[in-house]
C-alpha cells in the first residue's frame, strides 16, 4: 500500500509526511530512551550470535574454526539437512515429538486456567492463599525426584510373591489388568503427561491469577445487581476478562510445539519405550551437547525454528481472525 501511494504523492505532501514523522519521533524521544537497553540487549546477545545458524551448513565440530581462515572451508550446503530428513528415525522423532507436545497442548494447557478459575471462586482468603502456595510446590521438585517417585508408584511386581507399586495395584484391583506404564506403546506418553500436569499445573495458574487480579470488581457488583448468577458471572465477565492472556499464552505455546525438553524424557527412558519416547530434543541433546556434532544439531534446531515460526504465525492469525488482539 505504502508503495502505491508514494507514486501519487507530490513533493509537498512528501515533505508533510516527513515532517509529521519527525514530529512523532521527537514526541516519542523518551520512549526510544526506554527502548534502548532492551534494544542493545537483543542486538548483542541475540542478533550477533545469529551467525551460528550458518553452522548448519558446515561440517562443524567444536574445534573447527568458523572465522578467519576457516570461513571458506567445510561448507557442505544442505548435507546436514539431507542426512537428517533421510535418516530412518526422522519420522519416528517427528511422530513422538508431536504426540508428546499435542497431548500437552490438549490436556495440560487448559488445566492451569481451570484451576485458576476455581481458586478465584474461593472466598476464604487464608485458605485460598495456603492452597495456592501448596499447588505450586511441585514446580520446584527436581525431575530426578519425580522420576524416582514415578518408578515407585507404577512399579510392576518383580516376582509372583511381590505386589507392585501403589498405582499398579489400584489399576489392577479396579480393572483386573496389569499396567505396564514404562513398557512399550502409548503408556509412556501418559506417564510424561501426568508428570507434567502434576509438576506444572499449579505453577501455570500464576499468570492467570495475575490476569484475574486485573478484573474490575465493579463489573461483578453490577452483574449481581442485574441478578446474574455465579455461572453467568463466570461466562460473561471473568472469562472474557482473561481471554487476552489465554490467547497470548496459547500463541506462545504454539511457538514451542516441537519442544519437549530432554531431562524428563531421558530419565523415564528404557529399552522398551525408547522407540516411542525419543524426540528432537533428546536427540539434539545427545548429538549436540554431549557429542558435539554441532553442524548436524544446528540443522535440526533450524528445522525446529522454521516449524515454530509457521505455527506461531498461524496461531496468531487465527487469534486475530476470531477477534482477539493476538500477540503482535
Amino acid at each position: 500500500m505504502a508503495k502505491a501511494q508514494k507514486v501519487a504523492l507530490s513533493a509537498e505532501e512528501k515533505a508533510v509526511i516527513k515532517r509529521k514523522r519527525k514530529a512523532q519521533i521527537f514526541k516519542d524521544r523518551w520512549v526510544y530512551l526506554l527502548l534502548l537497553p532492551g534494544f542493545l540487549y537483543f542486538i548483542i546477545f541475540k542478533i550477533v550470535p545469529m551467525w551460528g545458524i550458518l553452522i548448519a551448513f558446515k561440517d562443524y565440530f567444536p574445534t573447527t574454526q568458523f572465522w578467519g581462515a576457516g570461513l571458506t572451508k567445510n561448507w557442505i550446503g544442505f548435507d546436514n539437512f539431507i542426512q537428517f530428513f533421510t535418516d530412518s528415525s526422522f519420522l519416528q522423532l517427528l511422530r513422538n515429538t508431536l504426540i508428546i507436545s499435542l497431548m500437552n497442548i490438549i490436556f495440560f494447557f487448559p488445566l492451569p486456567i481451570i484451576l485458576a478459575l476455581l481458586l478465584n471462586e474461593m472466598k476464604v482468603q487464608w485458605y485460598k492463599k495456603a492452597v495456592q502456595t501448596l499447588v505450586y510446590v511441585p514446580h520446584f521438585v527436581s525431575m530426578v525426584v519425580i522420576a524416582s517417585i514415578t518408578f515407585m508408584l507404577v512399579k510392576e511386581p518383580s516376582s509372583s510373591a511381590q505386589s507392585g507399586g501403589a498405582l499398579y495395584e489400584i489399576v489392577k484391583t479396579l480393572t483386573g489388568k496389569e499396567m505396564h506404564a514404562l513398557g512399550g506403546g502409548w503408556a509412556i506418553y501418559w506417564v510424561l503427561l501426568i508428570q507434567n500436569i502434576w509438576k506444572e499445573t499449579g505453577w501455570g495458574t500464576i499468570i492467570f491469577l495475575a490476569a484475574l487480579a486485573g478484573v474490575d470488581v465493579e463489573q461483578y457488583e453490577a452483574a449481581i445487581v442485574d441478578g446474574a448468577n455465579r455461572w453467568q458471572q463466570l461466562i460473561y465477565i471473568t472469562i472474557p476478562a482473561i481471554m487476552g492472556t489465554v490467547v497470548t499464552m496459547f500463541v506462545l505455546r504454539m511457538g514451542s510445539v516441537l519442544d519437549t525438553g530432554f531431562e524428563q524424557i531421558i530419565l523415564m527412558q528404557n529399552t522398551l519405550n525408547r522407540t516411542n519416547s525419543e524426540t528432537f530434543d533428546t536427540y539434539v541433546y545427545q548429538y549436540g551437547r554431549v557429542e558435539g556434532n554441532y553442524g548436524y544439531t544446528t540443522a535440526v534446531s533450524l528445522f525446529k525454528s522454521i516449524v515454530s515460526l509457521i505455527c506461531i504465525q498461524t496461531a496468531n492469525r487465527l487469534a486475530k481472525a476470531v477477534g482477539q488482539a493476538g500477540l503482535f
Partner: protein
C-alpha cells in the same frame, strides 16, 4: 463483595465442590514433597527398603548435620546459597528493568519503528545462533568467569516481554492522557502510572525470573571456571545426579539418598518462601484500587 448476602443452595453446593476439588488437588501435589522432606530426616536404610513414607521411623538430623557441618561441606553450601541468593536478587532486578522498559516502549501506539523491532524480537524467539556463538560473545565482552555471564545473556525473555507488553496495551488510556496533559514525560507516565498499575504482573514476572535464576545450573556450568563461584544449584545437581552408573572410579560412592533429599529441601525452601510475600499483589481488585487511589 460484602454486598453478596443471599446465597442460594446452588451456590453453597458449588462452593463445597470447589473446596473439595481444590483441597484434593493441593494434597496430591504436595504429597511427594512431603516424602522428600521425610526422607531427608530418615536413615539411609529406611529409604532403601521402605517404598514411600511420610514419617520416618527413627527421625535423625544426620543428613542436615552433614550438609551444614562447619568443618565439612557446610561453608561451601552456605557460600553457594549466598551466591544463589545474590545472583537471584540482582539478576531479577536487572531482568525487570530491561524487560519492563522495553515492554512499555513497545506498547506505545504510533511509535515509528515499532513493527521492525517487534519482528526482530519475534525472530530471536524462534531462531537462535546456539550455544557456541553466545559463548564467544560472552567471552569477547570479558564476562567469562564472572557473574555478569549468568545475568546479562538472558536479561530479557522475549516470551515474558511480549506478555507484559500486552498487559501494558490493555491499561486504560485515559489515565495516561491525563498525565500527559499534566506535563508528564513518557518516562514519568511509565514510572508513575504504568508501573503502579501493573504490580500483579511485575510480581508474577519477577517471580518467574527469580525462579529461573534460582534453578539455573547450566549457565554456571558453562561460564564459571572457579568452583568457589558456583551457585547452589550446581552443587546440588552434582550431588543429586550422581549414581553408581556415572561414578566410574572404585572408591567414589554416590552420596546417600538421605543426603540428596536434604540438599533438595535446602535448595527448595528459600525460593518457596518468596511466593507468600508476593501474594498480596494477586488479590483481586488491586489494580482497580490503585486506579482509584
Amino acid at each position: 463483595m460484602i454486598s453478596i448476602k443471599r446465597r442460594s443452595i446452588g451456590d453453597i453446593i458449588g462452593d463445597i465442590i470447589i473446596y473439595l476439588v481444590v483441597t484434593l488437588l493441593a494434597v496430591i501435589m504436595v504429597i511427594p514433597f512431603i516424602y522428600v522432606i521425610a526422607a531427608s530426616f530418615a536413615k539411609e536404610a529406611e529409604i532403601q527398603t521402605r517404598p514411600i513414607f511420610f514419617i520416618p521411623e527413627n527421625p535423625t538430623l544426620d543428613a542436615y548435620k552433614q550438609v551444614f557441618s562447619p568443618s565439612g561441606m557446610g561453608p561451601t553450601v552456605l557460600r553457594s546459597l549466598l551466591i544463589s541468593i545474590c545472583v537471584t536478587l540482582v539478576g531479577t532486578l536487572i531482568n525487570l528493568f530491561f524487560t519492563l522498559t522495553m515492554a512499555y516502549g513497545l506498547s506505545r501506539p504510533n511509535l515509528i519503528g515499532k513493527k521492525p523491532l517487534l519482528n526482530m524480537v519475534l525472530f530471536t524467539m524462534v531462531f537462535g545462533g546456539g550455544m557456541i556463538p553466545l559463548f564467544l560473545v560472552v567471552k569477547a565482552l570479558g564476562m567469562y568467569d564472572t557473574y555478569a555471564a549468568l545475568i546479562l545473556p538472558g536479561c530479557i525473555s522475549a516470551y515474558n516481554m511480549l506478555i507484559i507488553r500486552n498487559f501494558f496495551i490493555e491499561l486504560p488510556n485515559e489515565l495516561e492522557e491525563a498525565a500527559a496533559i499534566d506535563g508528564c514525560t513518557e518516562i514519568g507516565i511509565f514510572l508513575k502510572i504504568a508501573l503502579p498499575l501493573s504490580m500483579p504482573i511485575i510480581a508474577t514476572f519477577g517471580l518467574f525470573y527469580a525462579v529461573g535464576h534460582w534453578n539455573d545450573y547450566f549457565g554456571a556450568l558453562m561460564y564459571l571456571n572457579d568452583s568457589k563461584k558456583y551457585p547452589f544449584q550446581l552443587v546440588l545437581r552434582n550431588l543429586v545426579m550422581q549414581t553408581q552408573d556415572n561414578s566410574t572410579s572404585l572408591d567414589e560412592l554416590p552420596p546417600e539418598d538421605t543426603l540428596k533429599m536434604a540438599v533438595i529441601v535446602i535448595g527448595t525452601v528459600p525460593i518457596l518462601c518468596v511466593y507468600p510475600f508476593l501474594q498480596k499483589y494477586f488479590a483481586a481488585g488491586v489494580m482497580v484500587g490503585a486506579v482509584k487511589g
